[in-house]
Symmetry: C2
Subunit: 264 residues, 2 copies
Amino acid sequence: MSRFGDATELRRLGDGRYTVDLDGDFGFAKALNGGYVMAVLGRAAVDASEHAHPVSTAATFLRTVQAGPAEVIVDVRKTGATTTSARVTLVQDDRPVTEALITTATLDAAAEPTFSGARPVPDLPPPGDCLDFADGPGDELKGFASCVDLRFDPAAMGWLSGAPSGRPEMRAWFRLRDPHEPDPFVLAFAVDALPPVAFNAGADGWCPTVELTWYLRALPAPGTLQVHSGGRLVADGWFDEETEIWDSAGRLVAQSRQIARLGR
Amino acid sequence: MSRFGDATELRRLGDGRYTVDLDGDFGFAKALNGGYVMAVLGRAAVDASEHAHPVSTAATFLRTVQAGPAEVIVDVRKTGATTTSARVTLVQDDRPVTEALITTATLDAAAEPTFSGARPVPDLPPPGDCLDFADGPGDELKGFASCVDLRFDPAAMGWLSGAPSGRPEMRAWFRLRDPHEPDPFVLAFAVDALPPVAFNAGADGWCPTVELTWYLRALPAPGTLQVHSGGRLVADGWFDEETEIWDSAGRLVAQSRQIARLGR
């Protein structure tokens, strides 16, 4: 196994129930990372399905997730030849903390797109010209930085020095330190691994995600991922964040959108 | 009331249970429209909440929805001062047919955005220069056309005459015929009211939506809505579709993304 594999490993209790020991380094003191939680829920959904991949995951974050033991409950709602859909709930202290509707299917690793949109603009500078997350200030980041190697495009990191770009945006190279090559569960983690795009539109503080939906679009090639995030509207205490992940072979492998609260 | 109001009206049975009589004109023979179903689920979620608006709706379409009686079950999963989140399920013939996680909150009609992205390109031609959905071929469209006035940008309608644009796209002016001015439930309907964008990327036939998540971003002004849809990837039997709705005051009021199966 690997660090990430261990951190998302489920013990099957039967009847769609699992236990997991959540690793506190995949997140921060305030709460574990939502993408990490989605990776755990995705593994449970696939385990309870005849299909191999979590194609669609729509997660609602009800309460903050804490490190330590949790239960995962899978309630299959439809079983089909092409897809299976289930409610998947993470439970801590007898309360639902994250709930997702997950549809599994089996993607074809050899499928070629009939249409693929343009790559996000601007492209990322080479990793050596990017800001290393591990060099960031504060001990609070050390645990997370021990799990994942993130290199940020400096053009979208002005918020760190009080000069946000004015647009909701964030871009980074992403790889697990294990090393653990990308798979669909790593993508679940990666779609929510960057700081909130609203930091570049003047927000700061804790910006809790309320809902995040991500789609697996292709099986990722080995190597470093590119994560590109933007947003369309910051208003009335809410902002959206759209993320695309492109793999080392230059393919769009995951897309997500989330809605979150502005920091308070 | 209005046609749309009647078609989404719920009878409260208590304990989070409702009945509804689904209007077959809000859809086609094969299945009712997914956006219409989301409008019904959104009304139930708001009724069961202390908050006024369905801010986030993540719907999984398990089985085709048929005209006639249905039950709606709301199971509140978290109640908070700012948001309430619930599972909302449409049941027909004792089976779940659509299931959604819906988060309600109360938006401020007077809120001004601190950031708003650019309008989609290209803009729509004036309605008089657009293709009227009601002029479309076939009796199957008549019921739907009696509910909604849709005027399509001809530049993205080449698929009708066997000349698709080659890009997943679709754009239209939208208003209910009632008349019933836009509200959040009308937006739920509008985000899924256009033909699949994949028709412009060579697809045809029945393209069932598997999952659709939409966010309410502002309360819409009275008047005609602009619906802009695009997509990023068509591959391996799947395509995504992103929709933005702009109101008559020029504001982004709703955004959605769905993943659907290519027609068979």
